[in-house]
Amino acid sequence: MSDVLLPVCRLADIPMQGSRIIERRGDPAGNIAVFRGADDRVFAIRDRCPHRGGPLSQGIVFGAKVACPLHNWTIDLATGCAAAPDEGCVPTFEVRIVDGVVAVALPAGAA
């Protein structure tokens, strides 16, 4: 089962230091959040905090990190891992930006 690189939006469609979500109905692992940092780097991670499943897409973005809106865990957007001493990781997805279009390597299957 290979991942498919799919265009999801233009870079400008994602708020600076903000996010958008890709809805994954029927995917038991949940939605995917696409973040845009202040330096225009884009990251895609599973929209579920490893702590209690909070929607990370709704958190405050700073640097290449997001603070979960439920209990303030800090998740590194590049690695998907929680900052110490908290422990846990969420899956990350490869992102490519070509001519201002953001493409995410989505797991094959339900889209």
Binding site: L6, P7, V8, C9, D13, P15, M16, Q17, G18, R20, I21, I22, E23, N31, V34, G37, A38, R52, G53, G54, P55, Q58, G59, I60, V61, F62, G63, K65, A67, P69, L70, N72, T74, P85, A111
Partner: protein, 817 residues
């Protein structure tokens, strides 16, 4: 590999493998992990251990292994070259090399001296006999344990903190112990005569013997050459197979002095912990800072933070000295002392003395501020008194209750427990995060935690609502003794800066800063984008200081203030429309019912603020829900004016003296859309029966026959606080002006996330009265500034563009087919 690592790494050599040096390294590794190649020399053969816990080891309550703070693996993981059992003999400052006893040499770019202190040895005949030791390290402790197994009699010279802990430990190990003390009472540097008398009584109850005002003349040798007695001035000789000298310590400055560094009582350092040689820093018990030498561990943690920052090259932060407190670590004896506890003619003393039940408390005040105290037998409130002392809080308003402590004020969430030590291990301390006492104690011991912040990070206890902070501090203090490090009194906003909330507010005003980036630049923020803690605070400070000028940054707000609804645990939202003064109508209720049906709202709940909460709404549906409700935003999600709760008042109520509902509605219409440091709740009652519960609101108004009474800074939340009387006025217009002026003062002076109760507690009710009640012109100006700020403020539900609501957030991305 990051950018910094591509430079040639500098070499940092640390002399002293104790708590001071290693704590500094820990702080350094946190902020600049790749800056240095680090070598540590330690004269003892052990890795860094918790020296505070030697007494429990001596008493047989803990083992040496249990008190190790950093294992050898820790040093290896961080690439630190550790040389234990190797004393440094010389510093060559010209060649920048240290030389060790085993002949090795280590060159340095920066040198950190953390050489601690030497125990003082009495210059009496026989001081060098076998069986005469000091009490400083693991070797001393092991020598005492060994002697206790072989000999019957011990004498401890010195009735201070360390001497008594040594005496207690030796007694617990079965020896006959006599304490010889030069002064008329024990622990004279920490206790007054009365408390010391009680202490002596309970130690005698444990079997210790005392000789006070006794001068040691000589130590006598027995047949085998080992010490066998202590001869006192006056002729008495006490039998002693072991003599422990605990008569004080002095900073170990030998190495520094020999290297030509300026020393007086200790190695002299400036506020950045730098010695007179700019490449050499010094920290801990070996330093003299502003003429002060510290013999306790607590100041280390503040020093270490500052020193690490400068070693990392950030150059931010100053060490300004520490207040210290003391707690005796003898199981079963509760003793706490801090500050000036002796008092004198210029001081007031509040004393509670109940020798029968073994309780003695003395608080010393000057100018309505706590300057010191001694607690014996009941030390539960030690941490609270210590924080009042450190923060120099004005206690005029609580003077009459001060002696009875903080406990009776009624925190919630932990079954009314206020004595952490009396709790069982499985009792819950932190009700928010479900953390038991046992978990916290275990973490403190095993992970070597010393500060409240450490405990919060590792256990989550006290990290949410904070109501159990006092309990956690008690546990820290019990585990770490007097060396528990209380947080510094001026707390930085977050880890991105050393600046306090007040400094940030002042800079924004005086420098006319209008953007978050400008604040961060001007105040030299360490992390360029800030973090989830500082950005919301900065955003609030900007828009409250410069309304209509500073631009709101929604991305720096918590999700609730970005989505204008309240996020729930499952990621759905709750929506609460505004109902002026808690009144509604048939058409509003019909629209609400239609929304509940149309969007399949799972839960509809009446709130405590007299409104209706629709729970479980999907984020995508929010804009449509707002449109269909066609009611104003209730701001139930914001640090802003929430509700104005009212009773029905004179319009219907047979007891009502005033039209509370009408006043409540006009207050709410005047104040809604008002952002504040934290949420703000109001209430208006029409008579003193107070059905709207005005006594626990940020602003509570109570109608009486002759007008209105205004109360402020009440709180119904984490800790119930009764609102304080501000003023009595005649007309409804005056209520608006006084309430508005008070809230504007809070908006201008409050720190982010500080409720009115804490704000007023910090600045004092007198200050508020001076600005709002006594100064009529100033009051009108405050009220006008608030009206100016609120003028034209949009309703985010119905004017999203003007309120800068990013509507894209409500639409999931649609994938191309």
């Amino acid at each position: 590999m990051n950018a910094r690592a591509s430079f040639v790494r500098q070499r940092l050599v640390v002399v002293g493998n104790g708590m001071a040096g290693i704590r500094t390294l820990e702080e350094l590794l946190k902020i600049a992990p790749d800056h240095y190649d680090i070598t540590v020399f330690g004269a003892e053969p052990h890795p860094n251990y918790n020296r505070i816990l030697l007494s429990p080891v001596l008493a047989g309550e803990q083992t040496v292994d249990e008190i190790v703070l950093n294992t050898r693996e820790w040093y290896a993981q961080h690439g630190i070259a550790l040389r234990t059992g190797v004393a440094v003999t010389r510093i060559d400052r010209v060649r920048r090399v240290v030389e060790a006893a085993d002949g090795t040499r280590a060159p340095y770019d920066r040198l950190l001296l953390a050489t601690g202190s030497h125990p003082f040895i009495l210059p009496v005949p026989g001081a060098d006999l076998p069986g005469v030791i000091t009490y400083r390290d693991i070797a001393d402790t092991e020598a005492m344990i060994d002697a206790a197994g072989r000999y019957p009699n011990a004498v401890v010279i010195g009735g201070g903190l360390l001497g008594l802990e040594a005496a207690n430990g030796l007694k617990r190990r079965g020896m006959n112990v006599t304490v010889v003390h030069l002064m008329p009472w024990l622990m004279e540097r920490q206790l007054d005569r009365t408390a010391a008398g009680l202490l002596r009584g309970s130690l005698e109850g444990k079997g210790l013997a005392f000789r006070l005002e006794a001068k040691t003349e000589a130590l006598v040798a027995g047949d085998a050459g080992r010490v066998c007695g202590v001869r006192l001035a006056g002729g008495e000789t006490l039998p002693a197979d072991l003599v422990v000298m605990a008569v004080g310590i002095r900073p170990n400055v030998d190495l520094a002095k020999a290297a030509g560094l300026h020393c007086d009582r200790g190695i002299v350092v400036n506020d950045t912990l730098q010695t007179f040689d700019p490449r050499i820093y010094a920290i801990g018990e070996c330093v003299a800072h502003r003429g002060q030498v510290y013999g306790l561990v607590a100041p280390l943690f503040e020093m270490a933070k500052v020193c690490a920052n400068h070693l990392a090259g950030y150059g931010i932060g100053r060490y300004a000295g520490s207040q210290v407190s003391t707690k005796l670590k003898v199981t079963g004896i509760d003793l706490f002392s801090a500050g000036n506890f002796t008092g004198g003619p210029d001081f007031d003393e509040i004393v509670l003395s109940d020798p029968g039940s073994g309780v003695y408390k003395k608080l010393v005040l000057k100018d309505d501020r706590l300057v010191g105290g001694v607690l014996y037998g009941d030390t539960v409130d030690g941490t609270w008194y210590f924080s009042l002392l450190r923060e120099r809080r004005n206690v005029a308003e609580i003077r009459d209750r001060l002696m009875f402590g903080e406990a009776h004020l009624g925190d919630t969430g932990h079954q009314g427990q206020s004595r952490a030590l009396a709790m069982t291990d499985d009792a819950e301390v932190c009700g928010c995060n479900g953390v038991c006492k046992g978990t916290i104690v275990k973490a403190i011991k095993e992970k070597g935690l010393f500060t409240l912040d450490d405990v919060r990070k590792h256990t989550k206890a006290s990290s949410s609502c904070g109501s159990c902070t006092g309990l956690v501090e008690q546990l820290l203090m019990a585990a770490a003794g007097g060396d528990y490090s209380a947080p510094p009194k001026s707390k930085p906003v977050c880890g991105c800066t050393e600046r306090t909330h007040q400094e940030v507010r002042d800079a924004i005003r005086s420098q006319r800063l209008l953007r978050i980036a400008d604040v961060m630049h001007f105040l030299e923020w360490r992390s360029p984008g800030g973090c989830a803690t500082c950005r919301p605070a900065l955003n609030y400070y900007l828009i409250s200081t410069w309304p209509h000028e500073a631009e709101d940054d929604p991305q720096s707000r918590f999700i609730n203030e970005r989505a204008h609804a309240n996020i729930q645990k499952d990621g759905t939202y709750s929506v609460i429309p505004r109902m002026w003064g808690g009144e509604t109508s048939a058409s509003e209720l019909r629209r609400i019912a239609d929304v509940v049906d149309k969007y399949k709202v799972p839960t509809v709940k009446v709130t405590g603020g007299q409104r209706i909460d629709l729970l479980g709404i999907r984020k995508q549906d929010l804009p449509a829900v707002w449109r269909d409700l066609d009611m104003p935003s209730g701001h139930a999600y914001a640090k802003a004016l929430r509700t104005v709760k009212t009773c029905v008042g004179s319009e219907w109520c047979r007891f009502g003296t005033q039209d509370s509902t009408a006043l409540g509605k006009s207050l709410e219409r005047a104040l809604w859309r008002m952002y504040a440091p934290h949420k703000v709740k109001l209430a208006v009652s029409g008579c003193p029966r107070n059905c709207a519960e005005s006594g626990i609101k940020d602003v509570g108004v109570i109608g009486v026959e002759s007008g209105w009474e205004i109360y402020v800074a009440g709180n119904g939340g984490i800790k119930t606080e009764v609102a304080q009387f501000l003023a009595k006025v005649k007309s409804a217009d005056e209520v608006l002006e006084f309430s508005g002026a008070f809230l504007q003062l809070y908006r201008e002076e409050g720190w982010y996330l500080e409720r009115t109760v804490h704000y007023v507690g910090r600045v004092g009710l007198d200050h508020v009265k001076k600005r709002v009640v006594d100064d009529a012109e100033g009051r009108r100006a405050l009220w006008e500034r608030l009206q100016f700020a609120l003028d034209g403020e949009p309703d985010p539900w119905h004017e999203p563009q003007r309120a800068r609501v990013d509507l894209r957030q409500f639409e999931p991305l649609a994938l191309a087919p």
